[in-house]
């Protein structure tokens, strides 16, 4: 559980007001995708919130947030590569094209097709939650939960089927 003091909460809110627009414009530059930029900016602040102890000790909060934003972007890319690599491994067709049908075929039967389609949209097409929520016609909160659970089911099923090759690369 994240225990936050009044001072830390005040500092966080102040930092949010001070840096949200800066971080958003920097994210838009790095990502060229305004939906994803907005989302990763929020994820960045979510990490700061979850790591409030360390964040509040930071002397340069903007640098800290910017590095965190870069981490989020790297993680997103890493996850995408990992997913594609596993698809190639499953299909034994490294270097092939990774369209939706290819991915569905590669992981057919592993997890429900709805899960795979969702992961494909989220990880390969890099759709933001807001884009997904309007497509799926569900709330943002429900959307995040569905993605999170689809990922967990996928990891579990993949491990069961192919061994421990789902271990994330550093």
């Amino acid at each position: 559980m994240n225990i936050v003091s009044k001072e830390q909460r005040a500092l966080f809110i102040q930092s949010y007001h001070d840096h949200y627009d800066r971080l958003l414009v920097l994210a838009e530059c790095l990502l060229e995708n305004p939906h994803l930029a907005e989302e990763l900016t929020q994820e960045t602040f979510a990490i700061a919130w979850n790591r409030i102890g360390l964040f509040s000790e930071s002397n340069y909060s903007l640098n800290w947030l910017y590095n965190t934003l870069k981490y989020c972007i790297i993680e997103r890319d890493r996850e995408r590569e990992c997913f594609l690599e596993q698809a190639a491994f499953a299909e034994d067709t490294a270097g092939g094209s990774y369209d939706e049908e290819h991915i569905l075929l590669a992981y057919q039967g592993l997890v429900p097709e709805d899960d795979l389609r969702l992961l494909y949209q989220r990880i390969i097409l890099q759709m933001s939650y807001k884009q997904l929520m309007s497509e799926l016609n569900i709330s943002l909160s429900a959307c995040k939960m569905r993605v999170s659970r689809a990922k967990a089911r996928f990891r579990k099923a993949y491990r069961r089927e192919f061994g421990n090759n789902t271990e994330k690369k550093s």
């Binding site: 627009d21 919130w49 999170s148």
Partner: protein
């Protein structure tokens, strides 16, 4: 002129870059120096300029921020199920942040049980970073700043601050400029009397030398000026001022500073290889010693 009415060379030069050039610099990381204060100044400058070029008004930005914060509390905070980062991710996050070499940041907790198992990845990652990313970044830093410098070489003044903006000019700004020229002085921990605020940083090229100046001012037009001069062909006797009989030799960091005063100003001068540093200002002898002590 109040401080917020002045603009550093950083903003001036960055404004000459197109948005695409700024975006490319941002993506390549070519502006990152590893110095927290300098990097922060650059982040603020780049984002300020990008925001300036956006048609959104400050009021709209404030409104958007409030809306985003509401959304943040609703969807992103306090709910582990709603974040994509699990414990393992946070381990990796700690490792990532530690690898950013933040000089003044507290170290994050060391990762636990999986660390030993994953070290070969990190080793490989570090090698890849150095070979694939590190070298191009170093090259890009050089090329980016060289471009900026050479772009403005038509006049003798390579850099100069002027005009308005909200960011202050400080020792980190001066140091960032000096770092481009590989000078032997470090002003990172520079101490100056509180009353002085940075007003200008500039670099001027002369036929036989390059001169970098950092000026600070206090009320009633009192100035404190640091001048670092690099002599391209070595320091000749004509470049060395005659000694003042009243001068005091003050040794610090393997350098000997000659401290003197005339009428209202204190002066200190020292030489390192082809470089000369002069400090001049309406300050006390004690303050001059303290300033010298803070220069590395």
């Amino acid at each position: 002129m109040p401080l917020d009415k002045r603009e550093s060379f950083l903003y001036q030069k960055l404004r000459q870059s197109s948005t695409e050039e700024l975006e490319n610099a941002l993506r390549s990381g070519s502006w990152e120096t590893g110095d927290d204060a300098a990097d922060r100044a650059m982040l603020i400058a780049i984002s300020d300029i990008l925001l300036e070029r956006d048609n959104t008004t400050p009021e709209q930005f404030m409104e958007e921020t409030e809306k985003a914060l509401d959304e943040f509390w609703k969807y992103y905070a306090n709910d582990a199920d709603k974040t994509e980062f699990d414990t393992e991710d946070f381990e990796r996050f700690d490792e990532f942040m530690n690898a950013q070499k933040p000089a003044s940041e507290p170290a994050l907790p060391a990762s636990s049980k999986r660390k030993r198992k994953r070290w070969p990845y990190w080793l490989a990652g570090a090698a890849v970073f150095v070979l694939v990313i590190g070298f191009p970044i170093a090259k890009a830093i050089n090329s980016y700043f060289s471009d900026v410098v050479h772009h403005s070489l038509e006049g003798k003044e390579l850099y100069s601050s002027s005009d308005t903006y909200k960011n202050s000019i400080d020792a980190a700004t001066f140091q960032a400029l000096l770092d481009m020229y590989d000078t032997p002085f470090s002003f990172r921990n520079l101490w100056t009397p509180e009353i002085f605020v940075g007003i200008e940083v500039s670099t001027t090229e002369y036929p036989e030398s390059i001169q970098h100046t950092f000026s600070l001012s206090a009320p009633e037009d009192v100035l404190l000026v640091f001048t670092v001069t690099e002599y391209k062909n070595g320091i000749t006797t004509t470049a060395v001022e005659s000694n003042n009989d009243q001068a005091e030799d003050y040794s610090r960091n393997d350098r000997i500073y000659q401290i003197s005063n005339n009428t209202s100003n204190m002066y200190a001068i020292t030489y390192v290889d082809n470089f000369r540093l002069i400090i001049s200002g309406n300050i006390t002898s004690e303050e001059m010693h303290k300033i010298i002590d803070s220069i590395e």
